[in-house]
Symmetry: C2
């Protein structure tokens, strides 16, 4: 059982009640007392406020108990929508979800040809178009989380390393101004972890980790139903952990970073520098990095030895990184998410499961369940939407800063 010696925080009581209703509902107030350990008056007060805020509703059903029938409570699904906006290299994905974590719709835009850039105005338009196309009332939108790779400065709502650089580090504030609702910022692995946790309805008993592979590799951990954010929302940077002693210098400042050896761009570089391999696989010099990686992965899946030889070091190093995560966090659940696993996922899952079974420090005590996301390309955007909803359905439970709220 995943346990921390948890210390209660008052505002978190509301978050806990919402989370229990969301995951176990419909439930009665009495069941909430039993599930949370809070007192009956406390539950009554919290539920009264949640109904007044439109977050929770009485379903109209009751449960007969032999005594007074108990009315059942459920999340008010249509009360609020969240938007996740995942900004990558030359693309952006906008996802809208409801409070149950169900995706209502999504749209994707790619940079106009030849520029490699998606500007702020186009991003705002993407969001507005998505909302409009889905028939969602703008007033029911709780807000948006813009998610990007790398360093996050939540104190100022900035994404200092967002790409492309033309979006500017103050992307969060710019979008808040243009769209007029609250905007949060988050890193990709954090959002993916939350998204996977919500969508998979992971039990709060599990210690849930997510290994994310996009342009880079990162991780997120959900403990007792809440994302581990760290001192500054910059936790989980497994891609910038030294995997090779005294290895290559990384722009992040460290050396031997996992990203430099095992992330898709590194793998594609090896493909292109292995004589004859790119040609044989049908990877042209103009092929984008992502298409090249997926072509390589598909070839390896179909048994091409040369392709597998290039991919294997990456799978082994990610498997070693998974052992690192398990040995440091003592995880019992690990999900792989992100576009890097969209085609190659099964190859990585296999190697990660193998290596954890052989090497994870706590393996004599418990297994680690390793699975591939059902939606590896969209975990981040879904999680972004989930993060903004956590903030709105559970005040005090959300990230530290909300711009223009």
């Amino acid at each position: 059982m995943a346990r921390r010696e948890t210390v209660a925080s008052g505002p978190g009581s509301r978050a806990l009640v919402v989370d229990v209703i969301r995951s176990s509902g419909p439930v009665s107030r009495v069941e909430l007392v039993q599930a949370t350990g809070l007192t009956q008056p406390t539950i009554s007060n919290i539920v009264r406020a949640l109904i007044a805020d439109g977050v929770v509703r009485e379903t109209g059903d009751t449960v007969a108990t032999g005594g007074k029938p108990r009315t059942l409570l459920a999340i008010n699904s249509e009360a609020s929508y969240g938007i996740g906006l995942h900004v990558g290299m030359g693309t952006a994905t906008c996802v809208v979800t409801n409070t149950r974590g169900g995706m209502v719709g999504r749209q994707l835009i790619a940079a106009p040809e030849g520029t490699g850039e998606v500007g702020v105005a186009r991003l705002s338009q993407l969001c507005r178009d998505t909302i409009h196309a889905l028939g969602v009332d703008t007033r029911a939108v709780a807000g948006l989380t813009v998610v990007a790779r790398g360093l996050v400065d939540v104190g100022h709502g900035r994404l200092p390393s967002v790409a492309p650089a033309t979006l500017g580090p103050n992307l969060g504030a710019a979008l808040a101004e243009q769209l007029g609702f609250p905007v949060l910022v988050a890193s990709d692995a954090a959002a993916a972890a939350v998204g996977e946790y919500w969508v998979r309805q992971v039990s709060r008993d599990r210690l849930f980790g997510c290994l994310y592979m996009g342009t880079g590799i990162s991780s997120g951990v959900v403990v007792d139903g809440a994302l581990h954010r760290g001192a500054s929302s910059n936790a989980g940077q497994i891609g910038h952990v030294s995997a090779v002693h005294n290895g290559l210098a990384c722009p992040c400042g460290n050396c031997g970073c996992l990203d430099l050896y095992a992330a898709p761009p590194a793998v594609v570089t090896w493909v292109r520098t292995t004589p004859g391999l790119a040609d044989r696989l049908g990877i042209t010099p103009e092929e984008t990095s992502w298409r090249a990686f997926d072509i390589l992965a598909r070839a390896a899946l179909y048994g091409d030895d040369g392709a597998m030889a290039v991919l294997a070091p990456s799978t082994e190093m990610l498997a070693t990184a998974a052992v690192t995560l398990v040995n440091l966090w003592d995880l019992d659940t690990l999900v792989l998410a992100g576009p890097g696993f969209a085609v190659a996922g099964s190859l990585y899952v296999k190697e990660i499961r193998r290596r954890l079974a052989e090497r994870a420090f706590p393996r004599a005590i418990h297994d680690v369940q390793v699975d591939l996301s059902n939606n590896p390309r969209e975990s981040v955007a879904i999680g972004g939407a989930a993060l903004i909803l956590q903030g709105s359905v559970s005040p005090g439970h959300g990230p530290e800063v909300s711009l223009n709220s």
Copy 2:
């Protein structure tokens, strides 16, 4: 600010109240409402129960407010004692603390000459002697935590890798039977982290990590005032994280483990295999590993280049491991504890500070405060005592299993 999106758990409310009184007391009930966010009726109920249980007392002082004077509450210091029993290679340290985390006394035993063993009967006697010598009433002892390096099986109260092997993996149960009070088991870094956190009175706003170096290297993290235990209390095993790609095979199952390259036994091996160095430093072949390490460290501190050359790789690898911990947890506070740092500590602190300032992923957002424990040899035993007290002063807040309670 160190934040997790915390989810409240009911039983943790009591733990939170105790922790606020312990760290900020004496406080009034009104101040408890403000500090915790819990309701006034909830606070009243919790405080009433704590007074009845003898954990908290009214100090007899009041604070004038212009209205009704507020009575002040404080921890009942003499209500309970906790014992930490740290079992190492051929030695055992027994520490008794009170509920304020103040050490009341300690005793140390070493194995009888020539045997390298400390048996269970001798350990029980050590505990009884310590309690008796301090004039502590056995009925006021809340219990004992036996702390050892390596894998912990809290579900069964076992320490599978406890050394020496003659103590047996069921050490916890054996001690509980002989001593007659509750016995917990914990790993050394977990106990050290809790001990340092209590003794240093770290603010709950900080994300606190502890890097522990004894025979091996491990780590513990305290989040929102509570130890991160992971799925099975086996978190923090940084010593068994791969620091060298495809490196040496480790008995733990992994390869390239940090312990094999940087922990004191490895360093001492290099001293002994560097021609002439051991002689020059005055390290005899019979010298124990610990004395040899401390002699080496002292020589390096005094500027001996040969000694520094052997120690430097260890300091660099631990500094890289500190970067790993910061990049994964996003720590803002790191304390070094354990006998490995008793003499060599300042050399490690220097290198860790340097490397974090150059390489930590979130360095543009915040610093990491790195300090040496004030009591590096005893952090573990103090923490063990703290763990049992957390369990007794805060029911439901303690570790998963209590033997013979």
